[in-house]
Subunit: 178 residues, 2 copies
DNA sequence: TGGATCATGTAAACAGTTACATGATTAC
DNA sequence: GTAATCATGTAACTGTTTACATGATCCA
């Protein structure tokens, strides 16, 4: 029942539980809200990881019955879990793992008519700009430092990407004119 | 023998073969050299994908015997493969999939002594700067447009990240002084 | 002399997503 | 009234890495 489980989100979970006790549902929301630039999660990984951490003694559970819903399971980190987390935090981080289908298509899209290429660039620009505006909206919520760090990080990358997109697009226009 | 194969690299392979016939080995090298900002590959995925594309009729193979080595298998894209590629290129790209363990550790590392936090930031800065310098060295090799696009992209992101890292580090110094 | 490169491939382990199942409550 | 949110969980599928197997040639 607890074998063959992916444990890559183990430390993510422990780290968030150190701030405050949470349910699996809470953890997922939190990751989506403030850590989507770092990682993503789905219940399919999250719940099994929580079960596993429990059997390992890294977390304990408190069940709260609810009407019309599955009982809420509030997870809390244990001293063992804290040691495990600290150990991990001290190791140098792994290299980023990145899959950018957009960039791949751009690279291959020279085989496509120019208008398809431009469409690709324009759509990416629109999406990036939209993300930037969403960030600006939520900027006021940036209460504590780490949240602000990540928001600034994403903002900086998005801005750099928009500048680059404009450059590439301008370059394409040049070629047409020549 | 050909079931249950991951095919996510199908179009990557077809796209590269459109430029020129290549072996699996060549494809891997090319991806590492110019497309590492977009995706990564390993032989464990690449070879099975090539076999599968062959049975689908998207590529054909020419075997070239060699002394002391497995015969070189040069893959060529077929008209069917070209159609498949073009179809795919016209679809809007999927969202980026990103895993940045560094960013996650930074977020969680507020539970660590400040010197650990600074070490994390400094190491990231050093790595990013090193990557930037490597890019600068290979800049002259930027022959055709798409290669240059990707190099510029990575350069822009790295520069933005270094500026951000310096900012975060400066902010930490502020707090100590206050 | 020793390490990188060339060149293929498979099997097993690991990781992660998606679809499914259930069903009340809350907000518009 | 309908869509989103709350809240758990499993099974099947898809995807990816790592280790293994083989072994010559090229470069410092």
């Amino acid at each position: 029942m607890f074998f063959r489980l992916p444990m890559s989100h183990k430390h993510l979970v422990l780290g968030l539980l150190l701030d405050q006790p949470m349910t699996g549902y809470d953890i997922r929301k939190h990751v989506q809200a403030v850590l989507s630039a770092a990682t993503s999660t789905s219940y399919g990984t999250l719940y099994p990881v929580l079960h596993r951490l429990q059997t390992e003694g890294c977390v304990v559970v408190q069940e709260i019955p609810q009407k019309g819903r599955p009982p809420k399971k509030i997870y809390r980190i244990t001293p063992l879990g804290e040691r495990e987390l600290t150990q991990w935090l001290k190791q140098p981080p792994e290299a980023d793992k990145i899959r950018r289908e957009f960039l791949l298509k751009l690279y291959l899209a020279r085989h496509l008519p120019r208008h398809e290429l431009l469409k690709l660039l324009e759509q990416r620009r629109a999406e990036t700009l939209a993300a930037l505006n969403t960030l600006r909206t939520h900027a006021k919520n940036g209460k504590h430092e780490p949240d602000a760090w990540i928001m600034d990080y994403v903002t900086a990358l998005h801005k750099a990407e928009i500048a680059w997109l404009d450059n590439v697009t301008a370059g394409l226009a040049e070629i047409v004119r020549t």
